[in-house]
């Protein structure tokens, strides 16, 4: 079980991911609504894993991913994006993402991906 930072600009998605993670026995380290806040929260909270939305205001998820990897190259980050933006996968993986989920998603598969990434 891990301590997870949820990054998404919508409260609805953060709440949904939080609920899914709770049912999997994980704890929530914190939440962030944009990329800049994500980097700041990562430094402060040192979570075991981050779920990162791609399209966000101020700083997008790919930039935030790069920012976090620059601080901690071993950071475990799962990117989370909408259907139709899957072409971002290659860029995200190249930038250091360990996993990728596409919205809308199903809880058991998200928990499986979180478990896999935490085990790496």
């Amino acid at each position: 079980m891990g301590k997870i930072l949820i990054v998404d600009d919508t409260l609805f998605m953060r709440t949904l991911i939080k609920n899914i993670l709770f049912t999997g026995g994980h704890s929530i380290a914190g939440e962030a609504g944009d990329g800049e806040e994500a980097i700041a929260k990562y430094k402060e909270l040192k979570p075991d894993l981050v779920t990162m939305d791609v399209v966000m205001p101020k700083m997008n998820g790919i930039e935030a991913l790069k920012g976090i990897i620059a601080i901690d190259p071993a950071a475990k980050i799962i990117m989370c994006t909408a259907v139709g933006q899957e072409q971002m996968v290659k860029l995200a993986i190249k930038s250091g993402a360990k996993g990728y989920i596409v919205k809308p998603f199903q809880a058991p598969k998200v928990l499986e991906e979180v478990k896999n990434v935490l085990a790496t």
């Binding site: 949904l16 139709g84 899957e86 072409q87 996968v89 996993g99 199903q106 809880a107 598969k109």
Partner: protein
């Protein structure tokens, strides 16, 4: 001729027999005594370890063939390239996404896409995947990074054992458009305006998609039970969901209150 052991449903009974399979036909021995030309097969579907084929002779006859995976695979590889279907050579990736999670080890496989009456088949040398039309949720032309270039592909979303699975098809753009139009036509009955659900209804539907139950949905969206019930009714009436379980809330009668009170006394004494 290759002989393969199977069970075939005949007169509502399963007959143990051996099929004689050649390049373009198979022969079912007595008591069925039937030669089936693969080009006369109108439909092929699969349910667990049963291959169901519909053959057109004078009338349409359905054969259910039960066997081990290896035998069924052999039959599929023989029947699907010759059966009466819309067929095209393509690359496919199936599954590419399962439950919203990208499958990292997914690769493009060379093979064909075969569209029959009841479904879509991805036919490769190693695997043959069947997607029943009734389970198809969406068909979309989208772009994927293929060998470093954004390339148009068809994404087919479908339900497989309750999980939402996405598969991708890649072929020359002109063929892709024909296949896309064909599949769109086949699933036309599911087309909707997209404005049937408003903000809160959509959020509820998305939570259902993610597997949240009514209790979790009420808590997450801070919805009174009655309002959630009305939204469920709306989603059900649109045919977007089905009832799988009805939960009940109960209240104790005086007899029940007395029972629990007595039980508590016993426990505390």
């Amino acid at each position: 001729m290759t002989e393969v052991p199977v069970k075939i449903e005949f007169n509502k009974e399963w007959i143990v027999t051996k099929l004689n399979v050649s390049e373009d036909r198979m022969v079912i021995p007595a008591p069925i005594n039937k030669e089936i030309l693969f080009k006369s097969v109108l439909d092929v579907s699969e349910k667990k370890n049963i291959l169901i084929i519909t053959v057109k002779t004078d009338t349409e006859v359905v054969y259910k063939i039960l066997s081990v995976e290896k035998v069924l695979q052999f039959l599929k590889v023989r029947i699907l390239p010759l059966c009466n279907a819309y067929r095209l050579m393509a690359y496919f990736m199936s599954p590419a996404i399962r439950g919203g999670v990208m499958i990292k080890e997914a690769v493009w496989e060379k093979g064909s896409v075969v569209v029959v009456k009841s479904g879509i088949w991805f036919v490769g040398a190693v695997k043959q995947i069947s997607v029943p039309i009734t389970e198809v949720a969406a068909i979309e032309l989208t772009k994927r990074d293929v060998q470093g270039k954004p390339t148009e592909v068809i994404r087919i979303d479908y339900l497989d054992s309750g999980e939402v699975v996405s598969s991708l098809v890649l072929c020359p753009i002109s063929t892709l458009q024909v296949l896309y139009n064909f599949l769109k036509e086949t699933t036309k009955s599911m087309d909707m305006k997209g404005t049937e659900l408003d903000g809160i209804d959509l959020q509820v539907a998305m939570l259902v998609y993610s597997g949240m139950d009514s209790h979790a949905t009420e808590n997450m969206l801070n919805l009174p039970h009655k309002q959630l019930d009305q939204i469920y009714d709306k989603i059900l009436a649109l045919g977007l969901a089905e009832v799988v379980i009805i939960r009940r809330e109960i209240q104790l009668t005086p007899k029940g209150v007395r029972y629990i009170t007595d039980a508590s006394k016993t426990q505390t004494n």
